[in-house]
Amino acid sequence: MRNISLSKNRRRARRTGLLLGTVGTLAFGSALAAQETLVVGRSMDVNSLDPSRAFCDTCQVYLTAVYEPLLTLGEDNKTLVPKLATTWENNDTFTEFTFNLNPDAVFSDGSPVEASDVVWTFERLRNLKGSPSFLMDGTQSIEAVDTHTVKIIVEAPNSEFLNKVSAPYTGIMNAEAAMAGGALADESAATADGAEGWFLENSVGSGPFVLTNYAPEDELRLTANSAYYGTAPGFGEVVITQIQDSVSQAQALETGSIDIAMQIDADTAKNMNNPDVVTEIVPSFNFVYFAFMPGSEAMKGKLTPPVREALTYAVDYDGMIEFTVGGNGNKIAAPIPNGFPGTANLMPRSQDVEKAKSMLADAGLGDGFTMEAVYPNDNVYGVDLNIMMQKLQQDFAQVGVDVTLKPVTYPVWREDMANGRADLTAVYYAPDYYGSGQYAAYFGMTEGSTWVSRAGYKSPETVVNAKEGEIYAAALAASGDAADAKYEELAKELMADNVIIPLVSPNLVLAHRSDIQGVRYSACCNLPLAEISRK
């Protein structure tokens, strides 16, 4: 761990920055007062406001507004564009990455953004062992070459590293201010860091907004950062207000109580005929899937690869989309979202009941069998998991497989998953950044992965696919079309595992008042608030 010590010059610069920041705040304050407030309605799922611990959809929106990563994702949802780093380069083997910081960038207290802040932020992210810590997995060294240059070396080729540092969770923090709030970045951070509560009331980023108030499950209030060095955001204040369900959000939007509703489902959107409201339905990168658990006690020797394959033919994939989201969704072949690297040529699965029956008969299960499905009793991204599993129950019944449904709360589901207490489950996934590697790491049947532990439980050999680790490593060592080809190969292996079966990628409704512009869905950042303005 590199010790953070601030040079005299830097302290002077910080003091000057603070002074300028204060003067700027006073001067800017009156201007902001005249500006408007943007109100966004959503069901908040905040688990933390600490960038190194936060991991949720609302967190992505918040972190994007308040902190800035080195890079970000362009409007095409594919291309990386500069943020704090104006230029960057990597070696041919994708093991060394150098970032050159924008010398004009300053934190909200006016102090300059320096390479030491990047080093501190990334080391904290890695050492804290929080939800997004995996983004720093494999980093060998993170060093400040000079005040505005950072060099990162990773242990193995990682062509996706640049995508990872575009994730909002990698937003750069003002190290000095965060340390004053009790944050630690060294190896003791996982157990000794005491700043989580402090981050609920303070923000230390260089983004266009700063945190002014957070009341759990009530509101998240941001104010424009008066020291912001980039283009000023379109609103002086943004309030994300808690509105639980789709219908209530639609009503709030129609009355003008809110300007943007983030979780209106497509059915509700269809029934809105208000000229003051604009709705646009766009494909999302989220998906809902079911998973076989061949390692469960009841399924040992039963959920073999041919049986799993047979059951995938029993599913009515088109009907599932109709049944769960009224047709407002897309089929998805592998557990990698459509539009991500390696998915362009994949063929989605389709139903073939006769083939399923024949394969089950060949496996000696022509008379069917029973399974217990345990899943979270939740409605996510407009998909009610109960309804989805009822449809799956009907589909499996056609081939003689009797599924007992057991919806449970999330903590119970997690305990059951950890103890091999389900034969079948269902859950959801949203991208943490733009890149297919995260799916390989999470869904890949490589030893020690989350889903090998769950699906294989005490018999991991029933699901492990050694080829996937090799293909993933090859994909990380390649770039461009070569990497895409490797991810496609990986996606086909994930499909052939027949463990994780994606069912629906629900569409997203962008709903806002007609005088609001700049609302878009971002694969990395969800809703970039700074781009929104009033016409």
Partner: protein
């Protein structure tokens, strides 16, 4: 009477001790992974992290040790830190309870006023058109599910007619009054901010009516039946025979006696709604204790579950006490031993 009240109040901490103990033991023995809100999925395979988090939150200690620590902290007013919000539970409750109390108080005022009025007039004009219509109105209030009536009311009065504002305690664009009591109506009044007071009341009106409507049904039916029973009593006949005006007979003689069962119901309804107004809070985005309780239960947030249970138990104990005192007021023949 005073000695009785003091004795009852002195008993409250002991009852709360019992309730807190039961809540602690029940929640700790519930099935589920309490680490789900604390340890990310990807880190569950890392024993170092799991044990560090367990140690940090005291989950590595045996149950009896956890119980002693919890009760010791509780006595000092420390309910622990919420797994969900990462803030002290006492602070979460202090932030959210005034919102619920404000809503429930308003709902009870509406429910009691309309319920008693309807019940009284229904009894007075038994089987009349008014009686039938009022009973229908009351029946609707207690039988319509709140998630439905709330959404419909919002649609009619807020979206279509625009008579009431949208959801929340205030317009999200407004700044809440300075925190004095946590009741926005009182705090804006104390601040002399009439515009904010108006906004607070307009935001409160619809959720309070929706919640109060369910109380109207209960109170109106109870007042009507109790009054009808009282009106058939000898003392009422005697009062009428002595030439007392009907209004005096109805209010001074019959209603006062009919109030006793109503007071019981009102006390417990108030206490129930403190943690039971979940649906109203969800539909109207009201940041109260009910939604906090549901979130705590869903995520197995032990400290928050304990905190909310204590709040609920306190509400019931106080409601019980208040009801007993009200009994004595309503009917001086009821004596309390003290």
């Amino acid at each position: 009477m005073l000695r009785y009240i003091i004795r009852r109040i002195l008993g409250v901490p002991f009852l709360l001790f019992g309730v807190a103990s039961v809540a602690f033991l029940l929640s700790q023995s519930t099935k589920g992974d309490p680490l789900s809100a604390l340890v990310p999925e990807r880190m569950m395979n890392n024993p170092e992290i799991v044990s560090a988090v367990k140690a940090q939150w005291g989950l590595d200690q045996p149950l009896p040790v956890r119980y002693v620590i919890y009760m010791k902290n509780l006595v000092q007013g420390d309910m622990g830190t919420s797994f969900n919000t990462r803030r002290p539970v006492a602070r979460d409750i202090a932030d959210r309870l005034p919102a619920t109390l404000e809503l429930v108080t308003a709902a009870m005022i509406i429910g009691t006023t309309f319920g008693m009025g309807i019940g009284l007039l229904s009894a007075r004009f038994r089987y009349s058109l008014f009686d039938n219509a009022a009973r229908g109105f009351a029946l609707l209030g207690s039988s319509l599910p709140i998630f439905w009536s709330g959404l419909i009311m919002l649609y009619i009065f807020s979206v279509q007619l625009k008579w009431t504002p949208g959801t929340g305690r205030l317009d999200a664009r407004s700044t809440p009054p300075e925190h004095i009591t946590g009741f926005y109506s009182i705090d804006s009044l104390l601040a002399g901010d009439w515009a904010l007071l108006g906004q607070t009341l307009s935001h409160l009106a619809l959720p309070a009516f929706v919640l109060g409507w369910s109380v109207v049904g209960i109170v109106a039916r109870l007042v009507r039946s109790s009054l009808l029973e009282a009106l058939s009593q000898d003392y009422v006949r005697t009062a009428r025979a002595k030439g007392a005006p009907e209004r005096v007979v109805l209010i001074n003689h019959a209603l006062r006696n009919a109030l006793i069962p109503v007071l019981t119901v009102l006390g417990f309804t108030f206490a129930y709604l403190i943690t039971g107004a979940v649906l109203t809070e969800a539909i109207f985005s009201w940041p109260g204790i009910g939604s906090y309780a549901v979130a705590a239960a869903r995520s197995l947030d032990y400290p928050a579950i304990g905190g909310v249970t204590i709040v609920g138990a306190t509400a019931f104990l106080l409601a019980n006490l208040a009801t007993d005192i009200a009994y004595a007021w309503a009917n001086p023949r009821i004596k309390v031993s003290g």
